[in-house]
């Protein structure tokens, strides 16, 4: 009974939030405000992507930048070589990232915990080096730029908002399904969950593939939105870290966590970016240190702590 009430409560809040987000462009905010909103929404998608694997499943990945990058290259190259619209390419970008993740997962998920984390870091670095060195195909260090006329920033806003809604619905569906319970069982005790008959390897690979799909879509969106990117922008470890931070600061293993994380971190980062990109990353680093040191459950954890008292 109580659970039902809580769900209704969350549903009402989500619908109010969604209504506000849909209504925002009516008030014709400045281009800069729209830009920040789009970045916030993009980071919600990325945070959700990482959070599914890291937060719900307890598998820390330092390699989501590779999937993000694959998404960016797929849609952009399809547009440049075949003329396919990046908005269709976006789905293909997600799928290709998923494919990569499936292969990667079967190889690296024999490893556990920190070893898995390191292997994701290493494989993402290999993918980045390939992107940097395969000049004829990927444009190498110079990256790729596209001339692609989008109707307007408002349209882009609604596209990414749609992606956010889709992502959250999928995450919600997973979290209340059998898979969601399997994931939390695996996070708490991998051996025990294996013992009660959960196919842990299959679960991990499936989770990684779903997670990668959304990271890939995020990458495609970023490329089509910014119209220019290079491996140093999309594929370094900082991209992976950004996804981690968004979900940790909000609260790992919850759906609302990455939303809060993105709402809080992206505007802060954008304000500091005006000073310099280094200042922005410095703040990110400090925030993560403070959060990990004093509130390992993130901002959501603070609320829980508060309510318990």
């Amino acid at each position: 009974m109580e659970l039902m009430e809580k769900r209704n409560f969350n549903l009402i809040y989500s619908l109010i939030g969604l209504a506000i987000l849909i209504a925002i462009p009516i008030f014709e905010p400045s281009k800069y405000v729209m830009h920040i909103l789009i970045l916030v929404l993009l980071n919600v998608v990325l945070g959700q992507s990482w959070n599914l694997l890291g937060g719900f499943g307890g598998q820390i990945s330092f390699g989501h930048a590779a999937m993000y990058g694959i998404g960016a290259y797929t849609s952009t190259l399809l547009y440049l070589k075949v003329g396919l619209s990046p908005w269709i390419g976006m789905v293909l970008g997600g799928l290709l990232a998923s494919l990569y993740a499936t292969i990667l997962g079967y190889i690296t998920f024999r490893l556990r915990g920190p070893y898995f984390a390191l292997s994701t870091l290493a494989s993402a670095e290999v993918i980045r080096l390939v992107a940097q060195n395969w000049d004829t195909f990927t444009g190498g260090d110079d990256g790729l730029s596209i001339h692609f006329e989008i109707a307007s920033r408002v349209v882009e806003y609604y596209i990414i908002l749609g992606v956010v809604v889709g992502t959250i619905l999928v995450m919600y569906a997973i979290s209340v399904s059998r898979m969601g319970y399997y994931l939390s069982a695996m996070r708490e005790d991998e051996d025990a969950s294996r013992a009660i008959g959960i196919d842990v390897t299959k679960l991990k690979v499936l989770t990684l593939a779903i997670s990668a799909f959304f990271a890939g879509i995020g990458g495609s969106f970023f490329a089509s939105y910014q119209l220019y990117f290079n491996p140093h922008v999309v594929m370094t470890v900082h991209t992976s870290m950004q996804m981690i931070f968004v979900s940790i600061v909000g609260g790992m293993g919850t759906i609302v966590g990455p939303v809060i994380g993105a709402l809080l971190l992206v505007p802060i980062a954008e304000i500091f970016r005006v000073i310099s990109p280094a200042a922005n990353l410095l703040i990110y680093g400090l925030v993560i240190v403070v959060v990990m040191r004093f509130m390992p459950e993130g901002i959501i954890g603070l609320r829980k702590k508060f309510l318990r008292k």
């Binding site: 307890g58 820390i60 330092f62 190889i107 690296t108 024999r110 490893l111 915990g113 920190p114 070893y115 984390a117 390191l118 292997s119 870091l121 290493a122 494989s123 670095e125 290999v126 080096l129 390939v130 940097q132 060195n133 470890v237 900082h238 870290m241 981690i244 931070f245 940790i248 310099s276 280094a278 200042a279 922005n280 990353l281 410095l282 990110y284 680093g285 400090l286 925030v287 993560i288 240190v289 959060v291 990990m292 040191r293 390992p296």
Partner: protein, 292 residues
């Protein structure tokens, strides 16, 4: 097929550079072996060591030895500080993942703090540190590389003797093997972890000093070396000092030969591919399990 001398030259350079990789990896492996912490800030400490040497020589002058002697105690202290304030409290609450993430966050903060104050410029070796080369039987060896090789060797031997033959060293190894059992035997494991972390960080700082005459200094340089150190640690077996030393040399030689035969652009990829392969097929490292 390159000439024999060129091949030999590449192998010699690989061994010399590899000794620094080994030094870095030993720091990382001691920290991991004793307290199961993957120290993501290791690379930035190398970077700070490089800047220390750079500024020391630019502002005060002299060779590599003075900054090296300064770096050892300074970085030991920095290590203790990081352990006390951040790593130890988080390790108790959040375990392996917690320390992995907090050191990653700290790494990002330090890298970008350095970039803010000293800019992203690539700084080349100060004139005082430009090395001369010795020629020997058709090979030419730079003095900086030789200095790095011998210093690394001395430090590795010193650390090994400390761990093997002193009372504190034994206590540290006991902590690495079984924390609870060590605690019941009256070992102050918190203190042993502190010392181990300090030693690991001191080795990273000195490795930075040794690298200064050889490579450019810039804020993001630490990432290059921490990735190499991961490769080496995994090659040698997590927690093994001998393995890390040999793994470092193996990686150094592999990189040099890879550059010679394939392409310099993919130089860093060779190590990473070996890394993933070793993790998959020989997770205990190439040289078997010989723990701390």
């Amino acid at each position: 097929m390159p000439k024999f001398e060129i091949l030999l030259q590449a192998i010699v350079n690989g061994i010399l550079i590899g000794s620094i990789y080994g030094l870095i990896a030993i720091g990382l492996t001691i920290i991991f072996g004793v307290m199961r912490v993957i120290n993501m800030i290791h690379g930035d400490l190398i970077m700070l060591g490089m800047y220390l040497a750079y500024w020391f020589v630019v502002l005060i002058g002299g060779g590599e030895l003075p900054p090296l002697l300064v770096a050892l105690p300074v970085f030991f202290f920095i290590g203790c500080l990081i352990f006390r304030t951040l790593v130890s409290p988080v390790a108790k609450a959040g375990g392996e993942m917690g320390t992995l993430l907090i050191t990653a966050g700290l790494s990002l903060a330090v890298t970008n703090f350095v970039q803010l104050i000293w800019k992203a410029d690539y700084r080349s070796t100060p004139a005082q540190l430009v090395s001369t080369s010795y020629s020997f039987a058709g090979l030419s060896v730079s003095s900086a590389l030789l200095f790095a090789f011998f210093t690394s060797a001395i430090l590795v031997i010193a650390v090994s003797i400390f761990l093997m033959f002193t009372e504190t060293g034994r206590a540290i190894r006991a902590t690495a093997q079984d924390q609870e059992a060590a605690m019941f035997m009256g070992v102050n494991i918190e203190k042993m972890m502190l010392i181990a972390f300090g030693i690991g960080v001191a080795l990273a700082g000195t490795a930075g000093v040794l690298l200064t005459p050889i490579f450019y200094v810039y804020p993001y340089v630490g990432f290059v070396y921490i990735v190499k150190a991961f490769v080496v640690v995994v090659l040698g077996g997590m927690g093994s000092i001998v393995g890390a030393a040999l793994g470092g040399i193996l990686l150094g030689v592999t990189e040099q030969l890879g550059t010679l035969f394939i392409s310099a652009g993919y130089k860093d990829a060779f190590g990473l591919i070996i890394f993933v392969l070793v993790l998959l097929f020989r997770p205990s490292g190439l040289f078997g399990r010989s723990r701390l």
